[in-house]
Symmetry: C2
Subunit: 413 residues, 2 copies
């Protein structure tokens, strides 16, 4: 099935927002084995929109539009798609009631304009919108399918997953089952080399995606009705674990190192403290971003100035004067200090040079010391990172959490 | 001048990346008074790419492409654009030398393939690439202009600003001068109402953009050669300051509250400490993200647990037991404690309920207390924020920094 995605909105052509709808749909469709040949964006102009719809439908089997379903005169996507496909519109009672209920719930007044959103194609499928007022629709004729989705990303993804995805999966007769493994501490080219033979399989397929400091492996199996995808992906998954061991830190598309570490420490009843210099609170912030972090995290001492390292963490001035703040000695003293001052079971410390200034030949920009203190004893590691200030701080957080994870998993190493 | 943007790359159609190139170009072109009618994306397929180039050139005056300039067989954008426009390619010595120099500098070996990147249109303008190996080019014929840019965002923006932008500004005979004012603490609709009459001006124009917790006003003047844009924007700017006063916290497209506060405190020789609960290090992280934060920021005590508020900041247990951690009393004690423990001139504290859990009828999710301590005395403010955990934490940081800024500006209020 060949698909085109047509996004409608002057705000896209003015550069006020990026077309993340097209990215989201493309990723989802590619996972379903549907090929996307083109994206297009046009503004709220009837002639150009009509021409874009006609041209796209002349070339593809499936046209998905996003945007232009609002209540104003400018919003004409549904009208034009249905006109080109030859479906008249009529008031759809259920949509009308849903829109009225939405306005009652948020306590805003409904304008007559909003009823335009309840006009739906006769003979089409109406898709309800759980997160906004604009319903979407699907019309199908002569082997061509057009699906009309709202523009706001939350509304679009909700409607796609609830309604359009199941509809398309029924059309293709296939479902796709994916598993995601998150890999840390091994570069992409190394992961690629280690797993090389596994990429030759056509079903399940294996693909790698990169993020700062980590690699994500996706294993995807195409399944006919009744087939169990997890049975098809299991051997590949097992093989990846066998070859990469502890470098696989989590499973799942939305997994994160912060969530993995929090879960691990929560299940062991462990409390954590942090002592941060170059990450400047970013590490704490990644944990606190997750609801329920308070079960584990007691405090982070962001000691950016040397005076604060002494006063708040008790780092001896001799260490600061002799070894410097960016040293294994300082990292260890910071971690021990954070543990003592807070009474936490474990502490992570970070001190380094995030740049752009401050590097020396012995300790260039990107040199970071991570200290750990816990029931496993005290440990430290020196990282040599590349990239800009933001990248160095991001990767430092990831690696620091991973070092604590490994220390808890293998306390004797 | 009517423009279309054509992006080339299978990674876009697979949803691996969002089309931020099209957004960047659209924003830049709209600021220059060039109208963008369409965005398109096609993959690395010669037939579909050729058809897209022909169609676009039949409809617009200016076609800008991004992507498909790499050294591999798949990369064919330049070849196809020049073929359609009728410009033969030949080896461009200067580009060849630049590519050789690039490889020598990064210490990687150059492959014969890379020389394809030095093939350039005879009679066209070659645009050098300061951040990668692929040069771009401009070809112009029969009133149509086609500009070919590389895909990686840093390379694209560098080449646009260095070379394509000046070329287009010469074509349009106009330059655009913009000023940006950042406004905090006043909602978008309020700003719109207060400035209402100023939106009616055709030159300079006034436009508003929103970000979490703040509004950005852009004043843009169209200038003929020799005209001074700042003279045209000055009266509008003055008027905005007159009406919004201290709510305008900075000027400039890349300004931020963190940079504003750091600059302000640096110039006064003031040192800052933070005490964070619900922001969990995010506030410190926003300051540390800026190189040179160490001139001002001494430390942040991220006291997520109540025990840490007592142990690290000396918040009396009576306050925690009687008023609770989310209270003006606790916020004040945290700010005073941070100042005392670090010896800073000023301290900001934050304690609140970021959600989704933890709200009560008296203190619903979004209730945040900000405490300030400094030469101006001790102050506190209660914020009532809406949105999800991320939004509440972001806006809290912005407002907390703004409260410190206002306290330093007007110590007697």
């Amino acid at each position: 099935m060949i698909c085109e995605i047509l996004s409608v909105g002057t705000e896209l052509l003015m550069g006020q927002i990026a077309n993340t709808d097209a990215q989201y749909l493309s990723r989802k469709l590619s996972q379903m084995g549907i090929t996307v040949y083109r994206h297009s964006v046009v503004g709220d102009n009837p002639d150009r929109l009509r021409e874009a719809v006609k041209t796209a439908l002349s070339r593809c089997d499936l046209l998905i539009t996003s945007g232009g379903l609002g209540p104003t005169e400018d919003d004409i996507t549904k009208e034009i798609v249905c006109e080109v496909m030859g479906f008249p519109l009529a008031l759809h009672e259920e949509s009308k009631e849903a829109i009225e209920a939405f306005f009652a719930r948020v306590g805003r007044e409904m304008t007559p304009n909003n009823l335009r959103q309840a006009m739906q194609p006769v003979g089409g499928i109406v898709m309800r919108n759980r997160k906004g007022t604009a319903p979407g629709c699907i019309v199908e004729k002569d082997g061509k399918i057009a699906a009309v989705l709202p523009g706001p990303p939350r509304e679009l993804s909700g409607m796609f997953e609830d309604q359009l995805e199941p509809y398309l999966l029924q059309k293709t007769g296939l479902t796709f089952f994916s598993e995601y493994l998150r890999i840390v501490g091994v570069g992409e080219s190394k992961v690629e080399a280690v797993l090389e033979d596994l990429f030759h399989s056509a079903d399940p397929t294996l693909a790698l995606y990169c993020a700062p400091g980590e690699v994500q492996a996706r294993i995807t199996a195409a399944c006919r009705r009744g087939e169990d995808g997890s049975q098809k992906t299991a051997p590949v998954k097992k093989e990846i674990y066998r070859r990469l061991g502890n470098s696989v830190y989590a499973e799942g598309e939305d997994a994160s190192m912060a969530a993995t570490l929090l879960d691990m420490m929560r299940s062991r009843g462990m409390k954590l403290a942090l002592a941060e210099s170059c990450t400047g609170g970013l590490l704490a912030s990644k944990l606190v971003a997750l609801s329920g972090a308070s079960d584990v995290l007691l405090a982070s001492l962001v000691t950016y100035a040397n005076s604060a390292k002494e006063a708040l963490l008790g780092v001896p001035s001799t260490i600061l004067n002799t070894c410097g703040a960016v040293s294994s000695e300082c990292a260890l003293a910071m971690a021990r200090g954070a543990r003592e001052k807070t009474g936490a079971d474990c502490a992570i410390s970070v001190t380094g040079i995030a740049g752009p200034g401050g590097g020396t030949p012995e300790k260039p920009v990107g040199t970071v010391y991570v200290g750990l203190s816990g029931p496993f004893g005290d440990k430290w590691e020196r990282l040599s990172l590349t990239g800009d200030r933001t990248h160095i701080r991001e990767v430092t957080c990831l690696y620091a959490m991973n070092l604590m994870r490994l220390a808890i998993l293998s306390p004797d190493q």
